[in-house]
């Protein structure tokens, strides 16, 4: 795993590395072309951009190659990225993913949104066929463990979210909300959650604006906005709504700021200089930082809110420790399973390879025997020779295979797996086998889904 997050990089760098939509597709395509056969899932949220890779040990790309790829693809200075990037391998990478999925690595401790984002990242990567058995197993297990740990430790209860912090700030600006208008620009998940908090304040009106009007309408329906108390409005009404609004919440996926100081300044007079509270939850930011310097405008971006949220973490240490212990066990067990499966596939490939060689040698010997003596063509002799070859191969393999079953802290499974791959050049065989198994599994899933859909 290689990536940046809110702890290692500021919002400026996170903006540059944020990958969504076509940029994400382009990154996956570019990576697959450059490093075929390597499994990849890119998790890109407002807090983090992380590349989860599965590849055999000592197989490219290494960390430096990956940094080079990301910095080239995102147009970021390599030195800047190197200073902010974190990387984890094997068990550590698995434990990191499990923590992220549970929300332990989030600014808002235990927040559930990240789990949905992980699911989507996994599904997107699976749709582009860049997920193999390792990441498939790892992500499935991470999602399941995250749900279990949340349930058992209650880490998601009593959390302070970005939405609740935004409401706290709003209460420090406005005394009552019954005469206030809330405007939401964008209709993402973050906006939905924050809007639920703001909706609890019973504002006079709640307007939703999105470039895709249907999404705004859907969100309005989801929030249950009563007629006459707001609803979805056209993007073209944005300036008019900015005049009317007291609280503005932005969370679009726009690559450039939607609200600039230049746009808002002329509207201030029409607003009669009423205070304006702007909450920018988007990365890249939707609101130009200069907007925050305007008179009676209070601008808070995702980092500002999350820094406040982070302060509550201290009080929830015991929950974190309990969740960490559970996750560590789950991650370790998952990685062991993944490695065992990998070694199992390697052993099968090795056995297959040796038996193929044995068969070839047996056939060759039998042909020679047949020409040297008439008894050589006897089926009994052929059977005896084949049995001899098989037994010999099984006996040769028995000792190393039984050694692999033992847990050895000094020589983990990954070490043996790498050795087997290199010594017997098993890469192609295993890849072929892995893909065959994986797509057979996917096919069976699709068939099951189709059967369920057809009510069979």
């Amino acid at each position: 795993m290689l990536g940046i997050n809110h702890r290692t990089a500021g919002v400026e760098l996170r903006e540059r590395l944020a990958l969504a939509g076509t940029a994400l597709d382009a990154a996956v395509d570019g990576f697959s072309r450059q490093y075929p056969g390597v499994e990849l899932i890119i998790l890109s949220t407002c807090n983090r951009t992380e590349f989860y890779l599965a590849r055999p040990s000592h197989h490219p790309p290494d960390i430096q190659q990956l940094i080079a790829f990301v910095s080239e693809h995102c147009g970021t200075d390599r030195a800047l990225m190197t200073s902010a990037v974190i990387h984890r391998e094997n068990h550590e990478a698995a434990a990191h993913l499990f923590r992220v999925a549970t929300g332990l690595d989030s600014m808002v401790l235990g927040e559930p949104q990240v789990l949905g984002q992980i699911k989507r990242a996994y599904e997107q990567a699976a749709a582009r066929q860049v997920v193999g058995p390792v990441l498939h197993r790892l992500f499935q297990q991470a999602i399941a463990s995250a749900k279990q740990v949340r349930r058992e430790t209650g880490i998601d209860k009593g959390r302070v979210s970005v939405g609740s912090v935004a409401v706290d700030f709003a209460k420090r600006i406005f005394e009552s909300f019954q005469d206030k208008t809330v405007l939401a620009i964008g209709a993402g998940d973050m906006a939905k959650l924050a809007l639920r908090h703001l909706q609890a304040l019973s504002p006079e009106k709640l307007w939703l604006v999105n470039r895709t009007p249907q999404r705004a309408c859907n969100l309005a329906g989801l929030l249950g906005i009563e007629p006459g108390r707001g609803g979805a409005r056209a993007w073209e009404d944005l300036d008019e709504l900015l005049v009317e609004a007291d609280i503005v919440l932005t969370s679009t996926a726009a690559p450039h700021p939607v609200i600039t100081a230049e746009r808002l300044k002329p509207l201030s007079r029409r607003r009669r200089n009423r205070p304006l509270f702007v909450i920018d939850l988007a990365v890249p930011r939707d609101v130009e930082p200069a907007v925050g310097t305007l008179t009676n405008v209070y601008l808070y971006n995702i980092d500002d809110l999350q820094q406040v949220v982070a302060q509550t973490h201290e009080d929830r240490r015991s929950q974190v420790q309990a969740a960490d212990a559970l996750l560590l066990d789950a991650a370790r067990s998952c990685m062991s399973e993944v490695q065992n499966q990998d070694v199992g596939r390697l052993i099968r490939a090795l056995r297959h390879r040796l038996h193929e060689m044995g068969q070839a040698e047996s056939q060759r010997t039998l042909r020679r025997l047949a020409t040297a003596h008439p008894a050589g063509a006897d089926p009994k002799i052929q059977a005896l020779l084949n049995e001899h070859t098989d037994r010999l191969i099984n006996k040769i393999l028995h000792l190393p295979m039984s050694q692999l079953d033992r847990r050895d802290a000094d020589a983990p499974l990954a070490f043996y797996a790498a050795a087997l791959r290199r010594l017997f050049a098993l890469e192609e065989d295993v890849n072929h086998q892995e893909h065959q198994e994986h797509w057979e599994h996917e096919d069976s899933k699709i068939r099951r889904k189709a059967k369920t859909a057809n009510g069979i």
């Binding site: 912090v165 700030f169 209460k171 420090r172 406005f174 005394e175 200089n273 009676n296």
Partner: protein, 315 residues
Amino acid sequence: MLNLTTLSLILLTVLTLATTALAWRRLLASRPVSDSLDRVIVTLTALCGLGSLTLFLYRWLIVNGEWRPLTAHVDGLLLIAALLTGLLLFLRYRSQVPGIAAFGLPILTLILAWAICASAWTFHPFRIGSVWLSLHLASIYVGTALLAVAAFSGGMYLFAERRLRRKQPATPTPRLGSLEAIERVIIRTSAAGFGLLTVGLVAGFVIYATDKNLTAMPGWWYAPKITLAVIVWCIYALVTNVRHTTLFRGRRAAWLSILGLLLLLAVWILSISFLAKTRVSQNAETAATTRLAAQASSLSGGKPQAFAEAAPCAS
């Protein structure tokens, strides 16, 4: 030797100072503070107010013994202190601005400290010869109390806004109040104070216009006191109309309320020096103080303390 008024004022000042320290400790505490501290602050503030009111009533009914409540500047300051405390407590609960004590109490401390000076070293009884003067004094004193509230609410607004701009997190229990609530306090107290200031100013002009001794002075109408008083009136006219004059919303209204009080204090200082310079009726004044001293003396059994309570200590 200290008289009872001065001694009480010193005690009240110390109590207010201690309450101020507690209020600021509560405001700046990085961790959640207990409700009991808040209750202690409210109780001490109420004690300061009750002390000021008791002293004011004591001076009015026992020391001065006249129908007029204001006999000297110290009485006016005590009246301001009592009104200010009442307003602080009212705003604390009614207008949801719990942090107001931290900003109001320093002003209260200064007023009480000023009252110590007015009682011990610059005691000077008023020469109230007309209804206009009574009206002028009463409206100016009460008006100043309200404008002082507007000014420290302005200070609180700037403090709260600074915390918001610095994105400092909210405390579990609100300590300041919302900007909207504070701005409303500024506007309302400014409006009420502005009304009383207008009454005081009109009454002052009537006094000037009807007193030939005063209008005999050349250029009396553009004397610093009058010019400043008019400027102060204009500033508060602006603050009062903030709701309609959108340019002066928020920070600007806060700054204007502070500037208004500072200029008003300058008018006060000029008024006191003006009074000192133009003792129009020294004889009448001396007679009044002698009468007051005699009354006080009779009330306290003719002890020297009673004379000191009412006699001018300095001119």
